[in-house]
């Protein structure tokens, strides 16, 4: 199953990945990171299709995508 890993310390919470994930797996966190910003987190990893849209649009290169 494909999966993504988000670097939460570098995330600035612009939420572009949230808008472009076709499966709606990425959500804004209620917690704050080192920069004092609401980062994003993934739930329901099992539905990820590895389309890389989140990683391609991320302005801060925070997302790594893995595939079997």
């Amino acid at each position: 199953m494909p999966k993504i890993i988000i670097n939460q310390d570098k995330c600035k919470g612009c939420l572009l990945c949230v808008n472009f994930c076709p499966k709606g797996l990425i959500k804004k966190s209620t917690k704050l990171n080192k920069q004092g910003l609401n980062f994003v987190e993934v739930d329901l990893k099992d539905n990820c299709i590895g389309c890389m849209q989140c990683a391609i649009i991320c302005p801060d290169c925070c997302i790594e995508v893995y595939k079997e």
Binding site: P2, K3, D9, K10, K12, G13, C14, L15, L16, N19, F20, Q35, L37, G50, M52, Q53, A55, I56, I57, C58, P59, D60, C61, I63, E64, V65, Y66, K67, E68
Partner: protein, 242 residues
Amino acid sequence: MEKIFKRGESLYDVATHYCPGCGHGIAHRLVAEAVDSLGIREKTIGVAPVGCAVVAYDYWNFDCSEAAHGRALAVATGIKRVHPEKVVFTYQGDGDLAAIGTNETIHAANRGENLSVVFINNAVYGMTGGQLAPTTLLGQKTATSIEGRTKKAHGYPLKISEMLALLPGVCYIERVSLENPQEVLKAKRAIKQAFENQINNLGFSLVEVLSPCPTYWGLSPKESLDWIKLVMRKEFPLGRIK
């Protein structure tokens, strides 16, 4: 598991100083990916502009130089003439390339210097507080056009890419956008093409990138991308110009 998307070798693993949703982060990554995919990291020299991207050399893992405001193409000309075997590119915003540096831009293009240019057009001066730039759209509100840009007071948006396309020394000009992942991939291909042209000694190549500035457009990051698609693209149509 196999990693299918990761940060390339040409992009340092550091946080950037850009605002959330800024297009510079994406454009920096596209340049780094183009350099990595061509395997030219060891012989690439970038010239950073004055503007928001002034410390771009802190994010790229290849040689870089800084230039005075607008003079990146003059500095790049010198570097390329002394080191013709190196791949030299400039990375400039609209306030740098199309305002204070118009002179250097036009003459470098007219001389047909064998250089690649990544031109980030976000329709405002970002670094200094969102003032009106030559590329600001008619009706667009900025810090120095609070009622919106008017043709009577400020003139029309400057289409520097179309102007440069008239010059015989220019071999390649394309306008791309960062409005969604599909367009980002097209932008990546265009930037790679500009580097390939230089490697093949074809002359001056420029890629104009329509890039979001959520902070000074007063929009959210997603609304900024929609604004590029619905408003900015009408004034600056995408596609290959030359």
